[in-house]
Structure formats: C-alpha cells, structure tokens
C-alpha cells in the first residue's frame, strides 16, 4: 500500500560467531570466527599461525568457557607448552583441569608403507575421543598438510581431508586449520578448497631490512569483514591486530597541565602548558628547533623532580647533551640525577613491532611521566605511513593508559605537513608547527599552535628564538609587508621605539606650551586682580576716611550755604569750614 510502512522484514539470522578474544581480531572479523565451522589460517613459516590458533583456543577456554583440542602435527606437546608459556598461557594447567587436550600426531620420520585401500578413521576416532574427553567446542589442527609428506596416495588423503572438514562441521566445533603458504596458491597442497567459510592469511614481509607481520581476512562467507591488511604484533600477552584505538578511548583524562618549559608557550596553550597524559606533535623542517623544544620540555619535567624518557633516532646521547648545552639547557644534570634517560637507536635495527616492544619495556621499567620520540618520521624508513601510524596508535594508547605525556617530533621536507604527520595528526592532542621563514637574507623560525584539543590556545604566530638560555618566543609584527621576523622585527621594534620618542617629544612640547599658556593666564589673572584690588583700595580709603552719609549731607548743606553767601569771609586757607576744628569761627 502506498504510504503504509511495510512491516519490517524479519532480520535474517546473523551468522553465529565464536569470539577469539585476540586483541583486534574480533573487531576485524566482526565478532570472531564462524561458529561450528572450520577456518583456514595460512601463511609462510614463522608468520604466527600456530600462535594465533593457540591463542584462539586458550582464550576460548579461559575467557569464553569453551574447552578445546589442539591437534599438533608438527610440534610436540612439550614444545608447544614451552613456546607459549612466555605469553602467559599455562597449557599444562589447562590440560590438568580437563579443559584442553593436546594431541601430538607424530607423522614425521615415520616410514609408512601403503599396501592398499585405507582411510583416516584413526584420526577421526582419536579426535572424536579427545573432543568427548573435555567436551570441546573448539579444535585446532596444526598443520594438517604435514600429512602430505607422510602418505603417498594423495588422492585418498584429499578425499579424507574433505571428509574431515565435513565431519568437524557435523560435530559442531569451531575449528582452526593452519596451512603453510604454497607457490601460487594459499596453501602448499591447496587445502583452501576444502575450507570455504573463512580464510585468514598471515604474512611476514621484510621491507627495508625490517619485517612486519600482517593479517588479512581473505574470505568470510556470510559476514562482513575488514578487507585491509592489518599489521599485527606478537607481544607479551599474545597477538594484537592493529589498528585498534578503542583501547585508548577509555583512559583516565587529566585536567592537570604540564609546563612546556617555555613560559610564553605555556600561555599560548591556555592555562599552563600541555595536558598531562596528552600527546603532542611538534613538526617542522630541518633545523627548526624541534629537538630543542623537546629537550626543554624534558628539562622542565626533570626540574620538577619527575622522570623523562627521550627516545632519539638520530643523535647519540652525548650529541644531544652537547647540543642542548649550547642553548643553555643542561641535560647532563638531569641525567646524573637519574631523572632523564636518553635511549638512542637507529630505526632500522628493529622492525616496527620490535621498536614498539623495546620502547614499551623501557617505559614500564623507567616509569617516566614524559616520553619523547625524536623524530617519529624516521620510522617511515622501516614501514609505510599506515604501519607507522598503527604502531604509534599502539604507542599512544599504551602511554595514555599509563598517563604519560608524550611528545613526538616529526621532520618534514617542505612546508606542507609530512607523511608521518598526516598519519598521526588525528592521534595527537596538541600539534605545534615550527616553520622557517626566509626574508631579508635570513631564515627565521615561527611557531604556530595548529591544534590543541581542549585548550583555549592562541591563534597567533610567535617567533621562535633560540637563545643561550633556551627557547624564547617573541611577538611577530604583521604589517602590510607581511610577517616580520628576525632583524626586520628588531628594526620594526627600533622604529617603534623612535616613533615613541617623537611622540614623547611632541607631548613634552605641548606640555611646555600649556605651561606657558598657564603662565599667561595666570599673569592676566594677576593683572585683573591688581586692578580690582586698586579699586578696592580706593573704595576702602573712601570708606575709612570719609564721614557718614548724614554728616556729608550736613556738610554739603553748609557748604552750599556758604557758597550761596558769597560775601561771607573765608576764615582760612581751609575754607574755615566747620569741619576744620582749627578754623576759628
């Protein structure tokens, strides 16, 4: 019906899966291997097939409560037990508990004469007995192709293997069958044609004299799966397929800051530096002071009494100490105090996974609060960008889980971010870029904060100056001519200083003028006051020397009378008025 929502189609039952418990493999396979079906794991000698199969079995027993049977055609039970003991798998204990059977089928060196029709019922029966003995849900057969070396009649053997895989399905066990890689086909004897549900290919390739292990899901019938080649590592706890970042996303997050060792950089990043436990990438072209920035960070850390670990891929310890001393960073003191450890090695002495473990072992041993890797771009010489990125993801996860603040430096050849940086950009929390800028016949360094998660960082460019007391950051001048650095900046500073002087002079002049004006005003005011006072004096004089109004008027009348009586003789030179007491009347 139009508009009427169709009822949701019943979801087809998803393929039941048996989780392997192997770090990363369950993510890549979307939940594990196909349950109750055989899976083929193939690859060249020494690629880790047996270990993968064994880990699948052991984790099945320990983590998922599914007992298992290991049928070994190549190694004896004693060898197997010894080989995986270093990974913390105690096979003997699992066997004693009745949760594991290791059945070593010894076909090597046995002369078997074939005298007519035969079948593999003996193998079926003993496998069936072993499965029944522990109630096994998982079975490993390692490496069944060894049988091709023992039997002449391969036609019978092939039909028997086909029957075996069918029988394993019938028994409802999740099986892992390993196979050696052959010429032009997955396995030497083409047994992949009998195992069609899931095929995992392992590889152990050597590029640039270093080896990397890789895993690929070639086929997974009825299931989505990752199709990439995933690097994997064999570590102290078994196999880890990369990249798995989920591990790192559950870490404790700190709000605490750690000083970068450069005061102005601390303020550029917001409140006091890098976050504790965060990952910092410093990248830039050669000679931009990346290592110095890293060394100053270590120095600041050690000054607080915390430990720092510096992995150097390019310089020796002595060179680093000497070079940093030239810019006033005394690393020797921290080394002597046991707070700083510098580990130097060329990247190509080990494969990526080898480096990872060597570094993680050192970190576990030294327990630093800061780790520097200088520069990670060197690792690209022994692995592709994706491999390095996967390895660094692992490293970052490991360090974050320990709450270690990590600083990677990375060298790029031009002004664009290098290959390594693009691979790890999303991995880092704070990304500092040091650039050189050419101008006025000099090369100056600029520092940017490209990103800094969770901080109100400055978007300004600072000039990065190496002084004899470490790194200092200076403001840059941005004008119509662009960003000014180095001597141009100094000239600009001088210019601004002289401009300032001129303004000061003008100000002084104006103050003088004002003073003069004040003087003039004051002079005029004084003159006015004098006029006023003179008048006041006159009036005061009049007031004090004159009579009252009434006397005046009487005197006036008298005076008028006298003037009118012009004949009245003057009594004296004073007029002989009554006001003259001496005048005789």
């Amino acid at each position: 019906m139009l508009g009427a929502p169709a009822p949701a189609a019943p979801r087809p039952p998803t393929l039941p899966k048996a989780p392997t418990g192997i770090s990363g493999l369950d993510e890549v396979t979307g939940g594990g291997l196909p349950r109750a079906r055989p899976t083929l794991v193939c690859g060249p000698a020494g690629c880790g097939k047996t270990l993968l199969a064994m880990e699948f079995l052991v984790r099945g027993i320990v983590e998922f409560g599914e007992p298992g049977v290991f049928v070994a055609f190549e190694e004896s039970a004693e060898d197997l037990i010894a080989n995986v003991a270093s990974l913390g798998f105690d096979l003997a204990a699992l066997e004693a508990d009745g949760r594991l059977v290791i059945d070593h089928v010894n076909v090597l060196g046995a002369e078997i004469e074939e005298t007519g029709d035969w079948d593999l019922d003996g193998l079926f029966l003993r496998l069936g007995a072993a499965i029944d003995e522990v109630g096994a849900k998982r079975v490993v057969i390692d490496t069944i192709e060894t049988l091709f070396g023992a039997f002449e009649n391969t036609a019978v053997l092939r039909s028997e293997l086909r029957r075996l895989f069918g029988w394993l399905k019938e028994r409802g066990v999740t099986a892992v069958i390993t196979g050696e890689r052959g010429e032009g086909q997955l396995t030497r004897y083409g047994i992949e044609e009998y195992v069609s549900d899931c095929v995992i290919v392992l590889d152990h390739r050597v590029t640039a004299q270093t080896s990397t292990r890789r895993l690929r899901i070639l086929k997974y019938r009825g299931s989505l799966h990752g199709t990439n080649e995933y690097p994997f590592l064999i570590g102290e706890t078994g196999i880890s397929v990369l990249p798995i970042t989920s591990l790192g996303l559950r870490n404790h997050v700190s709000k605490e800051r750690m000083s970068t060792g450069v005061g102005r950089l601390d303020s550029m990043l917001g409140d006091g530096g890098y976050y504790k436990g965060s990952t910092v990438l410093v990248n830039g072209t050669a000679g931009t002071g990346k290592s110095t920035l890293a060394a100053q960070f270590c120095d600041a850390t050690c000054r607080r009494g915390e430990r720092a670990l510096y992995f150097a891929f390019e310089e020796s310890e002595a060179e680093i100490v000497r070079n940093m001393a030239s810019v006033g960073i005394d690393l020797q003191q921290a080394i002597d105090a046991g707070l700083l450890r510098i580990e130097c090695f060329r990247p190509n002495v080990l494969g990526l996974e080898g480096h990872l473990f060597a570094m993680q072992r050192t970190v576990s041993e030294f327990d630093p609060s800061v780790v520097v890797m200088d520069p990670v771009s060197d690792l690209l010489r022994i692995g592709s960008g994706a491999d390095v990125s996967a390895m660094l993801t692992r490293q970052v996860d490991f360090l974050k889980a320990r709450g270690v603040t990590t600083l990677f430096t990375s060298l790029n050849s031009d002004h664009n971010p290098g290959q390594a940086d693009q691979q790890i950009a999303s991995l880092v929390d704070t990304w500092l870029l040091v650039k050189t800028m050419e101008g006025n016949g000099e090369l100056n360094r600029l520092l940017y904060v490209l990103k800094s998660r969770g901080t109100a960082h400055s978007n300004q460019i600072r000039e990065f100056v190496l002084t004899d007391h470490g790194i200092e950051l200076a403001d840059v001048y941005v004008g119509p001519q662009g960003v000014l650095t180095g001597s141009a900046r100094q000239a600009q500073e001088a210019l601004e200083r002289s401009d300032g002087a001129a303004r000061q002079e003008e100000l002084d002049q104006r103050r003088v003028n004002l003073d003069r004006r004040r003087e003039a005003v004051e002079a005029r005011t004084a003159a006015l006051w004098r006029e006023f006072e003179d008048e006041a004096d006159v009036v005061g004089h009049l007031l004090s020397h004159g009579s009252t109004g009434a006397e005046d008027r009487a005197d006036q009348r008298l005076e008028q009378g006298r003037l009118r009586g012009a004949d009245e003789p003057r009594t004296g030179p004073n007029g002989g008025g009554p006001s003259d007491p001496d005048g005789g009347t």
Binding site: T115, G116, D117, W118, G122, L123, L125, A129
Partner: protein
C-alpha cells in the same frame, strides 16, 4: 585385548623369534576384514608358527588411537622384532607388505 585372535603354525622355521603384530581396525568394515584375511594368509605363508596377531578395534577403544599414534585405518604395526614398523592399507599388495615388514629382504 578382548578382540584377539591367535594364529599359530606348528612347524617353526630357522628363525625362532616370535613376531608380534597388531592390526588396528575400525569396526567390521570391509577394509578391516580384508586386511585381517590378507594378514593371516601372509603370516601363514611367511611366518608359520612364529607370529602372534592382535586386532584392536578403535571403535571400542578410541583412546588407543592417540596413545599408539594411529591415523589411518587399517594400520598394521610390527611390535616385535624391533624396531616398530607401520603399514597402512588393507594389505592387498603383498609385495609391499613384505617390504614394509622387512620380510622380503630376510628371505633373500
């Protein structure tokens, strides 16, 4: 073993050592039965009076497949004289059985 037949011949040969042979089978399958018939005939002819055949049915004793390291059925094991030798198949190729048991070289 409960499923054991003994076949002994009257007159002994020049070699007096008794051969101890063990035949592993799985139930009463045609292959297993054929192997037993072939084996007894061969022993009558080549080891008259000085052989002992033990038949083990792995259907009844599956655990023995592991302890005796048996894969293929039928398997004939020469336990004595030492060293231990294994021959698989229904023993229809008499020549190969004799080579496998090192009987042919002895006869020459």
């Amino acid at each position: 073993m409960d499923t054991t037949w003994r076949t002994e011949a009257g007159d002994a040969g020049t070699e007096t050592e008794v051969w101890h042979l063990r035949l592993y089978v799985a139930g009463q399958s045609p292959k297993s039965l054929r192997a037993f018939v072939n084996l007894t005939e061969l022993c009558e002819e080549h080891l008259p009076g000085r052989h002992e055949i033990e038949v083990i049915d792995l259907m009844e004793h599956p655990g023995l497949a592991r302890s005796d390291d048996i894969l293929a059925i039928p398997t004939l094991v020469r336990r004595l004289p030492a060293p231990l030798r294994k021959i698989i198949g229904d023993l229809s190729d008499t020549e190969r059985v004799l080579v496998g048991l090192r009987l042919q070289s002895r006869r020459r």
